[in-house]
Symmetry: C2
Subunit: 327 residues, 2 copies
């Protein structure tokens, strides 16, 4: 495999000139440029990014930390990140943390080792203090789930408002006994969506159903089923369910169907995220849509700007209530 030296020798120029041609940078005579390009072709030379990276002290890699790649919510975000990154000559290093802080710190080391130029964090499980320290030295942005305290920039939506809209809608179509299937409240989004839920109930003077809140261990279909089974066992069954994730909602839906009750006539259900599959369930799922793809694009741009040393501003995207058959 040829290197820049060989090209220079064969073309009868210096490596500096070859490098200049490569980066079509400063002024090189058309004649030499042509000659060099010809030799590059003859030797089918490809510049090594290893050398270039070392010299430039950059990896042109963005580290993307997600809890779980199988969750379609993240797939869409990653789509956006990748698209945006590639346009600006970056690549993404996708790493799945499984919300395990040990695993996460293995990956975070990649930035300390200069193998990544920045991090897009989807689910910070690392302890806050460490994270904030880290963000003073390195370029980090948060996407979707974030930590308010520090000053690490983030891209997200207004979770409280979105949940409020969902629940208000359930109330307006006649529901009072509205269950909440929430995930672990260690997540900001979980706390915020719960607050939106409570706010809507409070606003319409609905009280006394605090046992209709269920917290799942994780976000999986099975957790959704489990939650719903639990809720159906209550002496006062809910007439509607708001789940903080489509995945949970779909599990719940399955459980309702299995119990012989009908959606939406017996129980209405609203999910969150508008994953592709939410339109394939029976019945189709009413849900809150987040602009996942755009959020991915925005966080990649934000990170790249941060790497370049620019000042960046937090972004809050709009959500939308998508009404379908489950309500």
């Amino acid at each position: 495999m040829a290197n820049i030296q060989e090209v220079a020798r064969k073309a009868g120029v210096s490596v500096a000139t070859v490098s200049r041609v490569l980066n079509n940078n400063s002024n090189v005579t058309e004649k030499t440029r042509l000659k060099v390009k010809q030799v590059i072709n003859e030797l089918s030379y490809e510049p090594s990014r290893l050398g270039r990276n070392l010299r430039n002290s950059e990896s042109r890699l963005l580290l993307v930390l997600i809890p779980n790649i199988s969750n379609p919510f993240y797939s869409e975000i990653i789509n956006g990140i990748e698209e945006t990154a590639v346009k600006q000559d970056y690549n993404i290093l996708l790493c799945e943390t499984n919300s395990d802080s040990e695993r996460e710190s293995i990956y975070i080391n990649l930035i300390k080792n200069r193998m990544a130029d920045g991090i897009i964090l989807m689910d910070p499980t690392v302890n806050k203090k460490k994270l904030h320290e880290l963000s003073e030295t390195y370029s980090i942005v948060q996407c979707s789930e974030y930590d308010k305290e520090g000053n690490i920039p983030f891209v997200s939506i207004n979770n409280e408002l979105a949940a409020y809209h969902a629940v208000r809608y359930l109330i307006k179509i006649g529901n009072k006994k509205i269950a909440l299937i929430n995930s672990d409240e260690k997540f900001l989004y979980a706390r915020e969506r719960k607050r939106g839920y409570e706010k809507a109930l409070h606003e319409f003077g609905i009280t006394g159903y605090s046992d209709l809140i269920y917290h799942t261990d994780a976000v999986s279909f099975e957790d959704g089923q489990l939650a719903m089974r639990c809720l159906l066992d209550k002496k006062e069954k809910p007439t509607a369910v708001f789940a903080v994730s489509d995945i949970l909602a779909i599990g719940a839906l399955k459980e309702i169907n299995a119990s012989g009750l009908k959606v939406p006539s017996d129980i209405s259900i609203v999910g969150f995220d508008k994953i592709a599959f939410s339109n394939m369930t029976y019945p189709t799922l009413t849900t809150i849509s987040q602009p996942m793809y755009k959020m991915g694009c925005a966080s990649a741009n934000m990170l790249i700007n941060k790497i370049k040393g620019k000042q960046v501003e937090n972004i809050t995207f709009d959500h939308e209530l998508v009404i379908r058959e489950s309500t």
Copy 2:
């Protein structure tokens, strides 16, 4: 940010010794080792992989080329790849090709530029000749979808046999008019699964239903719906459907439900892949399960072995027919 020179100076040793401590390689006195480690801590020094990579002429990055990250089939494979790679101190560079050969070749350049040590290809859209040329110089393995012609090693299943099993099962439970929802036959798996379908029909002497084969443009829920709508419009409706992907099957299922027909009493349906969703549909989907995670692990191991210069053998995993409510 400290470098190895500073550590060496502060510890009063040479960079060689520091490097040896770092790689806890050859013999370093316990005393100096301790001293060096202490300085490393004091300076919170982290070795740069950029320097190391250049020196070692490796990137320790595996390029994973998938057509579409949103397809849960691939997510599971990626899980396996990543898990395996990380254990051996590799990271994965995940790249989505969208089955676009131009995009694919951008990514393939990464290996020419030494930014990746090898490639796991899921959906070779690059032209075959180029691919085979490439594989003479670089380490490449194929996973799931592959090209038989060349001698690029692959990990897959026996698609023909799997399809044969699915269709034979449909026949045995009493179906004759069995539709096939296939994807584009540019894919090997599509051609093979079709052959399995035909083999089963032929074996049981079923003929005359060749208009019950539908080819979709892509693999999406919508394509599945479209296909089913088309099949339901035939004068002789099928009593069973075999779809070459769960995604297509789920779309088809949706369409059958929408048309007022019942699954499985009116129409039975079998999918392929056993994605997580397939257990959440109404009714749950009978499907062929592939060991996606294990396939991911196997292809990562295979690639790493190839990078190390070892000889590798193709692997064909077993499939399994998972009978659920849709049949």
